[in-house]
């Protein structure tokens, strides 16, 4: 790995950090020899304070970032699962709210979570929620701004997505489960067999999570990659014959999914 190599070059004359950090996330490795207890005391339990701080604080960071996932699994299961992830994939950025971007993929593969196949999708909504929470503050596109576009130009316009906007597609009822898990009410039985697509937005300061109507995910997904309104609508109709274009546009504007209109070539 080139970056590891670079760190090694810079740190050649100061090897303490490499020696100290090697065993931080691996409880099977011996206590580093560069350290000691004071006055000839042993250093194992002392070093373990750092090991514990690192692992527990990172598990806590994941618990804070994935609250719906945690509510579904319970604390003990979540912390055991997060410990595996922390040890295999420690953060590469000092910004902890960036940590865990691939935790949902890890959950999808996690042996002990196979009986809850929608768990990874709920974690994806948790992660999208946190992205939206920290996204830039931008005024969303208003209904009247779109209404001002002459109807013959509408198929050619491109809509700039709001920085908070995310779509998560699920083969399960992940939106229903997510919403129930984030509410304070008692967990009731939920049928999870119906596929659901989530829309996550933050039109002002509150993050909002909605279920997209049929064809909505493909429609918004195409729009977010820069396709024109007409092309995105065609794609949505071909996936879902019941796709309701005006209702979808209205819903997306209500959610604050876009920021500006770019008028394309006709």
């Amino acid at each position: 790995m080139p970056l590891e190599g670079r760190g090694g070059d810079f740190c050649g004359e100061l090897p303490y950090a490499a020696a100290f950090s090697r065993a931080l996330l691996d409880p099977d490795l011996a206590t580093p020899t560069v350290i000691a207890g004071p006055k000839s005391k042993a250093a194992m339990k002392r070093y373990n304070v750092y090991r514990n701080n690192v692992t527990v604080s990172l598990i806590n960071a994941l618990a804070a970032a994935f609250p719906a996932t945690l509510r579904i699994t319970g604390v003990d299961f979540f912390r055991a699962m997060a410990r595996f992830y922390v040890r295999s994939t420690p953060p590469s950025s000092p910004l902890l709210f960036e940590y865990g971007r691939d935790f949902p993929d890890f959950i999808e593969q996690y042996e002990y979570a196979q009986s809850v196949p929608w768990l990874a999708d709920v974690a994806r909504i948790d992660r999208a929620w946190l992205n939206a929470y920290h996204a830039a503050d931008v005024q969303p596109l208003m209904q009247h701004e779109l209404a001002a576009i002459p109807s013959e130009q509408l198929p050619n316009i491109v809509l700039e997505p709001h920085p908070a906007t995310r779509v998560i597609r699920s083969r399960f009822s992940a939106v229903t489960v997510f919403t129930a898990s984030r509410s304070d009410g008692p967990a009731s039985h939920i049928e999870v067999v119906e596929p659901e697509d989530a829309l996550v937005t933050r039109p002002a300061l509150e993050v909002e999570v909605r279920r997209l109507p049929p064809g909505g995910a493909i429609f918004l997904g195409r729009l977010m990659t820069g396709e024109s309104l007409g092309a995105a609508a065609s794609a949505a109709f071909s996936e879902s014959p019941s796709f309701d274009l005006p209702a979808n546009i209205r819903g997306l504007l209500e959610a604050g999914a876009f920021t500006t209109i770019i008028c394309g070539e006709s």
């Binding site: 760190g7 740190c11 303490y16 000691a36 002392r46 070093y47 690192v54 931008v138």
Partner: protein
């Protein structure tokens, strides 16, 4: 210093953004979003708030909205926790730029970081890790602090660490190391009194001896916090700098000693997990204020008597 000259221009433009609030002699608390409504309802304006810089490095959203609101009415202290100043590898330039952007936007009254490291290679360990005190690490730390001060255009307050072990390769004491960093960089110091007590217990030295060797004249801020107890390999007391409980009696006594020597210094009660409600946190801040006020009154009486 070039950075400090640049500060004038930054201050002139930012003066339009936030009112200038003096932090001199004030007591502060860690700012937690769950306390925001209680703080606004409370309405007392004689305190300050400290934030962990990294929590405000997102592009926008509720964190910035809350801090903008607080910064209108209070002085703010910006406390970095992961610059990795004590690490051997070069500072993360992108992180330094993010830190500078926060200083430029929020105009903090105080800016601080730790004598510790948290990143090695590409891995961020999310803890304040210790370093040996040698000529080579001194040169590296000095260089890193120069870079931070150059970037933000303010003197940095460097915080003494709480530690649990030693590096046999160290050739100087922590206090000599810190004094030399101050002499070389012109930085100030954040004296964490709880860290002195925790390290003293863990390493078997007297906290008062550490303070006698510490360059107190450069202290620009004090931290107070709670700690918890564990045992070391020999079954003897090992204190953990946990920030999750009230300040202990021993630390209050040390704080009293420092204030009697230094006069009023901005003082923060750090509480980061197992948070009490706002009223509970205020009890701790009030206790710090009482100690500061007593010494200020003593100074006034002394002056009146001398006159």
């Amino acid at each position: 210093m070039k950075g400090l000259a640049m500060r004038g221009a930054a201050q002139a433009s930012a003066a339009l953004r936030f009112p200038a609030h003096s932090i001199a002699g004030r007591v502060g608390t860690s700012f937690k979003h769950e306390h925001l409504q209680a703080i606004l309802t409370d309405g007392k304006r004689d305190r300050f708030f400290e934030v962990h810089a990294e929590n405000y490095m997102g592009a926008g959203g509720p964190p910035h909205a809350a801090l903008n609101q607080i910064r209108q009415d209070y002085p703010v202290s910006l406390h970095g926790v992961c610059m990795s100043i004590g690490g051997p590898q070069p500072l993360d330039k992108a992180h330094l730029q993010r830190f500078k952007a926060l200083v430029d936007h929020y105009e903090p009254a105080l800016v601080s970081e730790h004598l510790a490291w948290s990143t090695h290679g590409t891995t961020y360990f999310n803890d304040l890790l210790p370093l040996p005190y040698t000529a080579a690490t001194l040169a590296r730390v000095t260089d890193h602090i120069d870079q931070v001060q150059e970037a933000v255009g303010l003197p940095l307050l460097l915080e003494n660490p709480s530690t649990y072990l030693i590096f046999p390769e160290s050739t100087m004491s922590e206090t000599s190391f810190i004094a030399e960093v101050v002499r070389r960089t012109g930085c100030g110091l954040l004296l964490d009194v709880n860290n002195v007590f925790v390290s003293g217990t863990n390493h078997g030295f007297a906290a008062r001896d550490y303070l006698a060797d510490f360059p107190l004249e450069h202290v620009g801020e004090i931290h107070l916090a709670g700690h918890t107890q564990q045992a070391d390999d020999e079954g003897e007391l090992l204190l953990i700098d946990s920030h999750d409980c009230p300040v202990t009696e021993a630390v209050w006594k040390l704080f009293d000693v420092v204030i009697s020597q230094c006069g009023p210094i901005p003082t923060l009660v750090e509480w980061d997990s197992d948070l009490p409600d706002w009223a509970g946190l205020k009890v701790e801040a009030d206790a710090a204020q009482t100690i500061i006020d007593r010494h200020v009154q003593g100074l006034k009486r002394g002056k009146a008597h001398a006159a």
